[in-house]
Amino acid sequence: MLSKIWPFTFWKISYWQQWFRVAKSANNVAILNPRQIYIVPTRWGLLYATMLIGLLIGSINYSLSLGYYVTFLLASLGNIAMLHTWRNLLHLQIAVSNASPVFAGDTATIVLKISETKNRPRYVVAAYFNRQAEVINDIKANDVQLFDIPLTTIKRGLHSLPRLTIYTEFPLSLLHAWAVVDNPFQLLVYPKPAESIYQNNLSADADVQGSSQLTKGDDDFNGHKNYQVGDSPSRVDWKASSRGIGMYTKLYSGAGIHTLWLDWLDTTGDIETRISQLTRWIIDAHATQQTYGLRLPDTELAPNNTEAHYHQALTTLALLS
């Protein structure tokens, strides 16, 4: 990559980013003050400036007083646009409202709360973690606007948010004003679940380990799930399948009868693979509303089937070191 070689590194804004003043959040709120807002001309701004130089040369060459007038008026317009663009970000208050945990590899949505307190509507304010996924909104005067900003996750764990960039080019698109915001919010990323195929290993037969079978009791019909290789043929809803709508496995609940233990020791591979497998089992168990417990080398979660339990189990896996 050219941009890795000096002096081409300087072309990238990301190189300069490290030197920029960053708006730090206090109590989750960052206020964009004048010193944190940067402004440069956009490429249209540069085009405009080139046009102005042309006009100026023409005015000098032809001694056109009114040529000077247009040149100076437009130059001054650029200058005024600069103040307006800068003002469009000034004193905005940025807070992270919330962000639900996601599985690694999925895209998290960070809900940003941007408040306007200066009795002045702000137009076309964009925010992004990643330039390709920016969110643009207007903010009404003395109002709060939510920005749902996508963030791609890679690894499980508790991650600080990357630096958020807020920018605007309003009103003339000739100037680009931006500020970089740091927020201490930590995003929880659950482990990436393994492909469903791993389920085969353990649900192949109920009696291998007894404890790790994913099916529930036999008592009450409880619903359907998509058929997966290895499900007992007796559980397949053949009526449904004969109607040509796909293979479904009938679920029966028998709470408390078969408690499922998802055990570290039942998994194979390296740590991340094992965690992935456990994650998959938790998801599936939760989806089929089974009661399950989680057994890890040095922790154990008592069996349960609540929503809170599900998240606790995933969180435990996410934070496992």
């Binding site: 000098i60 009114l66 040529g67 100076f72 103040l83 003002r87 009795n119 309003f170």
Partner: protein, 653 residues
Amino acid sequence: MNRLLTPQHLKWLLVSLAVVLGTHIPNLPLWVIMASISFGTWRYLLDRYQWAMPKIWALLPITLIICVGIIVTFKGFFGRDASLSLLVVMCSLKLLETKTLRDYMLVIVLAYFLVGNLFLFNQTIATFGLSIAPLILLTATLINISFKDAGKQRDIQFTLKLAAQLLLQAVPVMLILFVLFPRIPGPLWGLPQDANSGMTGLGDSLQFGNISNLTKNSAIAFRVQFKNAVPERNQLYWRGPVLWHQEDRSWTMSSSKIGLQPEIAKVSGNPIQYTMTLEPHNRLWMLMLDLPTLIPQDARLTHDYSVVANKPVRTRLRYDAISFSSYQLGLSLGERERLLSLQINEGENPKTVQLAESWQGLSAVDKINTALKRYREQPFVYTLKPPRLDDNPVDDFLFNTKRGFCEHYATSFVYLMRAAGVPARIVTGYQGGEYNPNGNYYIVRQSDAHAWAEVWLAERGWVRVDPTAAVSPERIENGISDALDETDELPLMARPDYPWLKKAYLNWDSVNNGWNQWVLGYDDKKQLDFLKKLSGKNLNLMHMLIGMVSIIAVIMGLTTYFLVKQQKAKLNPAQRIYAQYLKQLKRAGLTPNNGETVLHFAARAADALPHQQTLIMDIAQRYNIITYSASPKPLLLEKLAQLIKQFHVNKQQ
């Protein structure tokens, strides 16, 4: 980044381009206008009916045809008119492949440039006014494009208002730049040939029809402001080129004049001091009152006392000058000059020569008087529409048609004099002028162009003789409008009818004069003068730059302050009357704490003012209802206003 734009964006762009095109209509050939309109319409239809954009190979031949068209129309690509046409038609052709932000921006920036080009053609107040609408529209188009999504775009009113606001806020810095940005005297390089076309003025030769054509032009030749006494109207002879050489029908400045000794002038009486503002005419003449003594810099005096600039007058010139109306010029006549001023082509105009020869024996003065008497007594007519003259034009005019304009009288008179052996020459220039009381100056138009004669008399030198005055004294005393009958076509402004129109015109002209002096004439010299007057010191470039930057910094600081200053939120009617009520309570020392609700505060106030407890609680409740109801409640509001009016805090309480 190369996002596509919406139909709304396109509409803005097309409308503002149409307006830019509209302002340029007089400067473009018809086919360029038609082509631009059709490209714009085509682009609109493409969008309207979702047709496919034309492919590049379809546009190439069109581009080629346009280039050929430009070359044929203008005989080349270069020059002001050709480049403008090329720019306009290419800008509108660009529309046909305009879909992304990049294309839009390119077209808008080009269009801004085209607005600037407007002033290459003229710089009148009207053109200045004409430039405002396209600037607002283009700025509004930029604003509209900044709203990226169609759904979030604002209405026309919002966009136009914001554009106008931005431009208005840009005015202070523009003014400072205009005044303080160091003016560099142009041109930086050679101007194209056509840069100065369309300027009119005196030519360097005189043929029948030259001046009468000029007379139909009401354009202003120059303006004059006299510092003290104004000479009589019949003394207002503005001296231009002096013509010596006769050949067929035309009189020219003789090239053999070069090397002649300057004529010696003796002046007497009071000097006439005045300031000239000469309109550009693309020639060298700098018109001055007969007889010029003090001439401006960058000009020289020819041996026969016309003032000639060092380079063609292509910008409006303003200069101070001094002339004397009583003078003696060229008391001694050299041999070469005598020959030159007696030259006539032999074998032409036999009747005239014969007539002149019949005067042999008369003194020079008598010859002049005899000739003038002839003009006076025979039925000569002063008219803008003289009949065509035959191969001996002077004969034909003097003995046959007897209808002519000043050029006919001047040339025939000088011819007659030369034939009679009196040295004579033609002086061209302007005569008269129109007084504008609003600005206390004189306006001299192209329609005041004139030609007269100078004859040389021993002891007296060159003496001005105006044969036109013999035929039509009104021309000299009152101006051209009085001298002509109604069938002659005079420009509107030179006609005597519509006095109110004339008055309005004079008002307007004084505005124009100020505009010319202060806006258009603001060049490097004027800038230094003005700044010197303003600061009392001679300023150099460094001072100007430092001053400019610091004033702009101050203006920007102020602008920023006003832009950032928090605007007060507008109160709704309920809040407004409630605020009055709070003012009353304040007299009792009661103000709501931060975050205190209306009802909590009311409870506290009621405790403090037990007499009015019910009233206070009533007000609070009603105010709350109004504030939190979705629909307006005019009746409740009225009641609240009544209650609040009842409420008074006495000092004792």
